[in-house]
Symmetry: C2
Subunit: 217 residues, 2 copies
């Protein structure tokens, strides 16, 4: 008979302990002994269930991706809700999972690519829908590139949560944090912050910067 708090299989408890530790100590900094201790089991049992440390890592990746996909599917709504959902849905997940995703995507690797590309695909779809319904203007150049830049921008709040939390004074991995920063994000995205002409100048300056750099690498 298990208590209410520990209403999980032992394997799940080990996996969740790893999900909590990997983002903090890194993949190499996390020892199987620490994970085992957190889960209240012996180190050998971790191997017994997951085969190896790498197997444990894979299991964590799989679980997090599955949880994210499921969460997004559940929170799929219409119109503005749908548009807000793509990233925001993650904030409805349990905090350790959000932390794990932020860490994974920032770290790189195959799972990171999987998550990123999934979000890019979704954004491209939203572009197509938005253009048909007139809520999104003509996309410059390649929609996929435009989507990638947008996803990276949106994700930044997740990756830099530590720093934004410091500035905002609210935990940025919570829905409250998202709500606190959203107005500032929208201020930027609405084009109200920068003057249009300034933007053109900046564009030219960047191009010139590139030209001046040519051949120096």
């Amino acid at each position: 008979m298990r208590s209410v708090v520990e209403d999980k299989t032992t394997a799940a408890r080990i996996r969740d302990a790893a999900i909590a530790r990997f983002p903090i100590d890194g993949i190499n900094g996390t020892t199987l002994r620490a994970v085992a201790a957190d889960a209240g089991v012996s180190p050998g049992l971790v191997i017994h269930h997951f085969g190896s440390k790498e197997g444990l890592h894979r299991a964590c990746d799989d679980h997090v991706v599955r949880a994210m996909t499921q969460m997004k599917r559940e929170s799929l709504g219409e119109g503005a809700y749908r548009r807000a959902a793509s990233i925001a849905a993650m904030y409805q997940m349990a905090l350790p999972l959000v932390r794990y995703i932020a860490w994974t995507v920032g770290t790189g690797g195959e799972t990171a690519a999987r998550i990123f590309d999934e979000l890019v695909d979704e954004a491209v779809e939203l572009f197509a829908e938005g253009r048909d319904s007139g809520t999104i203007g003509e996309v410059y150049g390649d929609p996929r590139k435009q989507a990638a830049v947008l996803v990276a921008m949106q994700f930044s709040a997740l990756v830099f949560h530590e720093h934004l939390t410091r500035v905002f004074g609210i935990d940025m991995l919570t829905a409250e944090g998202l709500a606190a920063s959203a107005p500032y994000t929208l201020q930027i995205l609405s084009g109200d912050l920068f003057d249009r002409q300034v933007m053109e100048e900046t564009k030219k300056a960047l191009q010139e910067l590139e030209r001046s750099q040519e051949g120096t690498r």
Copy 2:
């Protein structure tokens, strides 16, 4: 007598080897033996010069921050150039240093905070200048929070360089990569991508999302 390629002190060579390795293998995954081998010295010498592995890490942080500050100071221009410089200046640094910064800021920690806050301070200054000269509109709420969100957004290109490189087909840590992505970034920042009304709806949706989340954490 040293060759042209290795025109550095031994300590500098060790430090640069570490700067190249830390972002790839992580702080715990990087062994002193690997760094020593890359620099062509014995493991003991690393300790002799830097005291400990932690000392080596600190030396790398210091060097990178110093290089970044110096680079920014040198590339400080006027008007549009100055505005473009804050992040773009990093792209003029040597690739390993850029990689190290991207890794550090994404990883978190004290140095990450130092770099991030420095860029935020700079952005706040630019806001003040821009408001006086009319190139920047009224900043919503707290300028520092606005700056933090902006810096995080700009930095995303650096942290997600791996994924953006995949989508764009150009190395995003080079000036060419920056130039390729800049039009897409500006498209978003100019407010041309999203309809203003859609943005208002999204804002409301996010607020509602927050309300529906209240008390569930």
